[in-house]
Subunit: 242 residues, 2 copies
DNA sequence: ATTACTAAATGGCGAGTAG
DNA sequence: TCTACTCGCCATTTAGTAA
């Protein structure tokens, strides 16, 4: 017999008030308010939680005290550890596509001392002078490119040199064909579309893997934890307290 | 419009299969099995999740691929962080009671070199030769005593000296009257009941607080995280995979 | 084999209300 | 005031079934 989400929220609410090591004084109207539900439902939930052995109730006069049982705590811990096992683990973004020859500016830009210095300092390697252009194949890869362009946290600043200005870009480190260190570049004003990434590496990738145009390659970016943007924070969860 | 628990489980299940950075192939019977529900419910859940923008579906031939959206990920993260905020925080166990004079053996035992050495090494202080007996007042305190006796992780070994054997005990560090370092002892073969704790401390507590029999005292034990026993592991949560 | 509709059963909800 | 009952009502479920 599976518990409802609201019931879990109620349990969490009680636990949040130290309900495991203290008897917490609760009233069904107060609980109802905290859960955004009716008094009747709050009453039902407490009855249910008690029946399932997740809480213990004790009436002193007309006020009731509730204490979360070990079973109840375990219920919360189970949910928590299940979530944690899934969420607190590295997230892999794979970009798969085919090599193609671009406009050939990559080599020029990468070898500019301003850029090169920043790559060395912020990415930790001295890039081979040139970018490898990859046209992404699957919708997943294109989707991942979009996500990564937001996650990428290595900011390479633009600069000006005389009357010429050079734009900024973002980068993020990854692995090329599951073996070589590389970085994916997200150039602010690129000539390419959403289905293209430009990759740099300390090694000459075309040579290292004997790549010709049209060959399939794979870039893997691993995000240590959940570093994913949390722009939408529509928290509709338990508000703890009275 | 609040989501159901089963729907959350479904979302988690999809996410667990790298559903955020990969399109996951799902079938409603398989999902139903993983969730312990019917095929029809699985179908409805997917429809619902898609309607709420938490997943995206894509049909290729007769198989459908599902991908968790950023909104969907945020939903999981919200739940997770809410749980974490409550669970991953120190837990306080308060024992309140009144001082009473016991059989007077405490001083003898504590001053035995074997015990004393272990206290010093495992608890980090040299105990005043004597225990303070506290008779617990509230049901919460008695409950907490029971819990702490299971949580207590400082094991003091028994020993024998000639023909006499001295029993083992467990202890856990705490704070006496919110100011002095102390430890609660859980003696294996005690003469006292479940409503009594024996407390030791580097200082002479009776003197330090001017305690007479019947005076109220409070011992607080703080457990860093959730170190609580998880004997009951009735996991009825999402089983990940096919 | 799928997915997902409709129908009937179940279960949860809030309003009203008793104790 | 409180808790928790009953009662309609609506949501969610499963079974059957269509596509």
């Amino acid at each position: 017999m599976a518990l409802n989400l609201v019931a879990i929220k109620a349990l969490l609410n009680l636990y949040a008030q130290n309900g495991f090591s203290n008897s917490v004084r609760v009233s069904t109207p107060a609980l109802a308010k905290a859960l955004g539900t009716s008094q009747q439902s709050a009453s039902r939930i407490l009855i249910r939680l008690e029946k399932e052995g997740l809480i213990e109730r004790r009436s002193v006069g007309r006020v009731t005290y509730v204490r979360v049982t070990e079973l109840g705590l375990n219920k919360l811990l189970d949910l928590y550890t299940d979530l944690r096992a899934v969420i607190e683990r590295p997230m892999d973004f794979v970009l798969e596509g085919r090599v193609f020859t671009g406009f050939g500016e990559g080599a020029y830009y990468v070898s500019l001392p301003e850029y090169r210095r920043q790559f060395r300092e912020k990415l930790g390697f001295d890039p081979y002078p040139g970018t490898l252009n990859v046209r992404l194949l699957s919708v997943d890869s294109i989707h991942n490119r979009r996500l990564l362009s937001k996650i990428a946290d290595v900011r390479i600043e633009g600069f000006r040199n005389g009357n010429r200005t050079y734009g900024g870009l973002k980068a993020i480190g990854g692995t090329f064909n599951d073996s070589e260190l590389c970085a994916v570049l997200f150039i602010e004003r690129t000539h390419y579309g959403d289905d293209v990434v430009e990759v740099i590496s300390p090694v000459y990738l075309r040579g290292r893997f004997g790549l010709k145009d049209g060959d399939k390659v794979r870039v893997r970016v691993t995000i240590p934890k959940e570093k994913v943007e949390r722009e939408q924070v529509g928290g509709e969860l338990v508000s703890v307290g009275p």
